[in-house]
Structures are given as structure tokens and as C-alpha cells.
Symmetry: C2
Subunit: 374 residues, 2 copies
Amino acid sequence: MKDFYLEIKHVCKQTGARYGILHTPHGDVEVPMFMPVGTLATVKTLSPEEVKDMGAGVILSNTYHLHLRPGEDIVQKAGGLHKFMNYKGPILTDSGGFQVFSLQENRKISEEGVEFKSHLNGDKLFFTPESVIKIEEKLGADIIMSFDECIPYPANKKYAEKSVERTLRWAKRGLTAHTRKDQALFGIVQGGEFPDLRKHCAEELVKMDFPGYSIGGTSIGEPKDVFSKMLDYSVPYLPEDKPRYLMGVGSIDYLLEGIAKGIDMFDCVLPTRIARHGALMTSQGRVNIRGAQYKEDFSPLDPECDCYTCKNYTKAYLRHLYVADEAFGKRLLSIHNVRFLIHLMEEARKAIQEDRFGDFREEILRKYGDKRGF
Amino acid sequence: MKDFYLEIKHVCKQTGARYGILHTPHGDVEVPMFMPVGTLATVKTLSPEEVKDMGAGVILSNTYHLHLRPGEDIVQKAGGLHKFMNYKGPILTDSGGFQVFSLQENRKISEEGVEFKSHLNGDKLFFTPESVIKIEEKLGADIIMSFDECIPYPANKKYAEKSVERTLRWAKRGLTAHTRKDQALFGIVQGGEFPDLRKHCAEELVKMDFPGYSIGGTSIGEPKDVFSKMLDYSVPYLPEDKPRYLMGVGSIDYLLEGIAKGIDMFDCVLPTRIARHGALMTSQGRVNIRGAQYKEDFSPLDPECDCYTCKNYTKAYLRHLYVADEAFGKRLLSIHNVRFLIHLMEEARKAIQEDRFGDFREEILRKYGDKRGF
């Protein structure tokens, strides 16, 4: 795909972290990057201009959710996701695999695909590797994902083995079904916590020659040491010249761990979701804005932050809006959290280019502590 | 007040409509104007920049609501409403009279003031003409209102008489209590549907020499013919060189009626409230965006509108966001409705200056019909 490729500009001498430019049909973006999530063709509460202004490159949207509402046919008739939601930068869609396997109770997996129920109305749905690609082609994102199985953690090795083989067959079927030349289809490395399965999955996917590779976790969060090992079991078998995307990761320590191990792309609902619940990531540590101590605190949320919220509003105002359940409050808090992570990525890219990402990472972890969920 | 005055530039030869510039400590704005309502120091879902960009002059905020949350002391410590909410244009606060008399069931009116209960937690509260002015001084708006009694419709004449006299005594007490020289305190003409009471109230207020006058309605919506007569009973007794503000009016026919009779300022929650419920004012008539007919309608909400929403999004996208209960949808719909009314005011001002406001009004009413609530 001539419009889509990764140009590695620098590999850090301290770690495996890499800095580069990802070329896409909707513009060039720098990696490593954090991709804000716009589940239903909107990054919750934010306008596309706000998302761009805070330095976002690629944004992510969810195939499963868009299939239910408004349906891929409507998005296609609108001229694709970019036009539908007025986002001029690159967009990525997931395959629905994570939602199907984590949100659904009564699912039936077969070789053909997965039968499951809509979380909205209980309607029976059936996703296959081919039907998912068909949906993603209609949605029209720049980067799309293969349909995969997310296994639980911890998993039975026998089951994990069977699952990896099926995920590989599904990846192949998706690749065969995929016809749009302006979309980059990624293969997804699965295999749970098992080194041999991860290696096998990565190697087989690489043989299929995808333009990029994702690393899937499990359907529930695994402990950090396991998470870290999953990267060690997967990344070394992926080609250096292709983008690597670690799915669903948005906490500071996991992001830094991923970058250090050569990951280029991350996404997570964390910053926007916790923002709507009043939880903010700041250079001074975590802030729960509802706290009574902010009632008369007329300082910015984060004095080190350059976002619209921190430049124009006080904690007292943000607390007031939060307590009064005002939509503008959720928006201001979302702007801050997303910008916080994007800014962290900007600093990380700088550190990589200056061969000091290891030091940078230590400094950040000292500053924020080594806690998941922040 | 040297920073606050109305400069009448032109009176329409067809009607009593007037075009002018209202000078305020936070800038000059053109009248007649529609003032968007920011109840809790935020025009729901919108940023101050968005409100400005859609051509708003003065915005309104509610004393009763701000007294409850976050409390006037916090707003004062923040440096006043302008700084607290980051709005650089002029702000007006109401007196809480309407809320106290329309929202509260168990209120006790005495000469001293009104005892009532918080709608949030049932706490006993007591508002007097002096305490309301004190709150408004702490909030720090450019234009503030006297504490008045809104009587029900229809009202007993005896009661209305007693009420007007009390409203006049309260206006006097408020005027005496008011100390901030940078705020314009308006008197409010009450008197229900009774011509002699309206005249008497207006004349007595004018003797007190307020920098501006409001015309209050009743605590429930009166029929249009009654509404229209209330204007005839009030406006002729008000000085020509002072601004006239008709409170709580936002439907097209009432706005045009008010302008024709010489009103300069209007406010209403209507455009933002109905927008959040999916109801839009458009040049093609009323649109209920949830309608299935918009599922695949890729045209703008209003082809004649120049707002951000109409320039960038389709009905299909707006319907999708509305159905999915996405905050960005409510924001886009609010932007449109507020801009629609502000644009109507712009057109009205042009028509006044060209001595054709009567024709303009007929044309608009023919176009939109003569329905309240639109």
C-alpha cells in the first residue's frame, strides 16, 4: 500500500523505543502516539477540531458499536466515517473482537464466526472474519483490524492453542476478503500469556504480510508482569518496518512500557471515561475534581498543562460544573485528560530522538508512581 | 452610569422597533438582541467562544441557581462571573423572582421577602430585595435585576394590586441597597393583565430612575393576545432612551411582536432546552431530529443557516448522535438553535435600519407560521 507506510526516523539507544512518521491516506502522523477513542463516530463530548487541536493523530472508532448504530450502510452512504463525523485526519476501526468477547455473555464461537447478542436490544448477531471486513470497508477507516478472539486471563493452554490457530485462520480469511486498496488491514497477535503461542501467532501473521500488526491482550486486564511478558513474546517476531499497535492501553506505566519495547500506537477509553467521572491525570498526581478541597481552588487543574481547560478555567469552576452535572464540565475534563496523554507522547518522542527514553521513563514513573489506571 | 447606556441609532418608520447600541462595561452590543441563557454559569453544552462566535451579545445567568451552586461567595472570590466562567462579553443576572415564584410550591411571601425551599435539597431559604442585590453584586454581572413578584395568570385584581405595590416597594429597597457603580440595576414592570396596574408600575419605576427596565410576564405563559396587551400597557410609559428587556421570551412570533413594540432585549431557555430534546428551529420549519426520515438524510439541518453545525454535519449524523445520546449531538443542536435566533435578530436589526421591519415580520411569520413554541 503506497499511501500507507511507517518511516522509522530514529531508534533510541537506551531502549527499543522508536520514533517515526506513519504515512496514511489522511495525512502523516508521528509515532509513538496515543489514539483517542471515538466509539460511536464521536470522541465523547469533543468536536473534531478540539481533537485535532490537542495534537491527536489517528483516532479510533468501534466497528461493533457503529454496526449497531447507525449501521455501516448509512456511514458508507454518507461518504465514509471521515465525512460522516467530519474528522479530517486518519481513522482506525477495531474489528469488534474485543467487544464481542468481553461484552457478551451468551456467545457461541464456531469456525465460521461468532454468534452473540446486541447489548442494546438483545438481537441475535453473527460476525465472521469476512462480515467484519465488509463492515470495516463500508466504514472506510484508513487502518482496519482483523477479526480475532480475545481469550480470558488466565487461560487454559489447550484452549489458547486452539484459539490462536482459529485467529490465524480468521486473519487469513479477512485478508482474502479485503478488497479496498486504500485501507491498511492489520493482523492481531494473540496467544495469551504463552510465549510459544505468541511467537507462533506473530510468525504466521508475518508470513501473511500485513501492512501492520496489533498486539491483543486478553478480555480482562492481566497483571503488569504478564502484560510486559506478552510484549516480549510478541514484538521480537514482528518486522521492524511495519507499525505495531498495542490495543486498549492508556495508563502511563503501560504506555511507557510499550514504547520502550518498540510499540508505535496505543488507544484507550481511559482518559475520556475517567474524565467524565471527574478523575484527572495531572502533573501533580491524580485529581478527583468533586473533592471539597477544590471548592475555592482558583488555580488551574494542572499548572504544567497547555490545554484549553488549564489555560482558561479554575479547579473551582470545573468542580462546580462537575457537581452540577453540566455537559461543558465533562468536555473540559475530557480535553485535559486526552491532551495530558498526547503531551506525554510528545515528550516521549522527543526523548527517543535524543536517545534518553530510558531516563525519561524513569523520571515519569518516579513522578507519577507506578500505578495502573493512571 | 457612564459605562452603561443605550444609544438609539434608528427607529423603524413602519413599527415601533428600534435599532441601537447598548454600551456596557464589557463591550458594546447591538439591539434588539436575543440573550442565550447560561443558568449555572455555562450556556449548556457550549464554550464561551462558541457562544461569542455565534454572535451572542449579552448572556444571562440565574441568581437563584448560582446562589445554590456554587454560591455567590465562591463566584466573588473567583473574581466575578466573567472570570469564573471565562465569558468576556456582558452578562446579565436575573433576580431569582421568577424561579422563586414558579418553581417553589411552599413559599411564604411577606413584606420582608420570600421564604421558600431549595429545589435541590429542600433547605429553607429566604430572599429579600436586599439579599438578592447583595448576591447579584457578588456575582458581578453588568446588568442585574430587582427582586419582583411574578403573579399567576389569570390573577385576582385585588391580589395583583397588592403585589404591584409590594414589587414597587421592593424595587425601591433594592435600589437603596445597591452599591456597585459598575452594574446597571433594572426595575421590573409587573401588573399582570391589568392596564392600570401596568401603567402605574411603569410610572412609579421610572420615577426611581433605573438605567433600564424589564417587563415581567406571569409565572405561567399567558395567551398571545394577553401577552401583546401587556406590552401595550407597559412600553409607552417607559423612557425612550433606556433599554427595555422583555423577560423569558424566545419564540419567533413573540420576539417579533416584542421588537415591533420597542423591546431591545430578550432571553429564553427555549432554543437550548428544545435542542437538547432534538427539536430544531430551521428555515424549513421545525425539525425533530430523532425522526426516522433523517436516518439517511445527508443534507444539512438548515441549508440557509451559517452555523458550525449546518456547515459541517448532516441530519443523518445529528440523528445518529441524538439517538445514541452523545453529548456532542446536544452541543451541535444547541449551537444551531441559538445561532438561528441570533441570526433572526441580525436580520431584524437590518430590517429596522431600512424601515421595513413591519414587512420583515410579516414575511417571517408567513414563513414559520404564527405558533408559540417555535
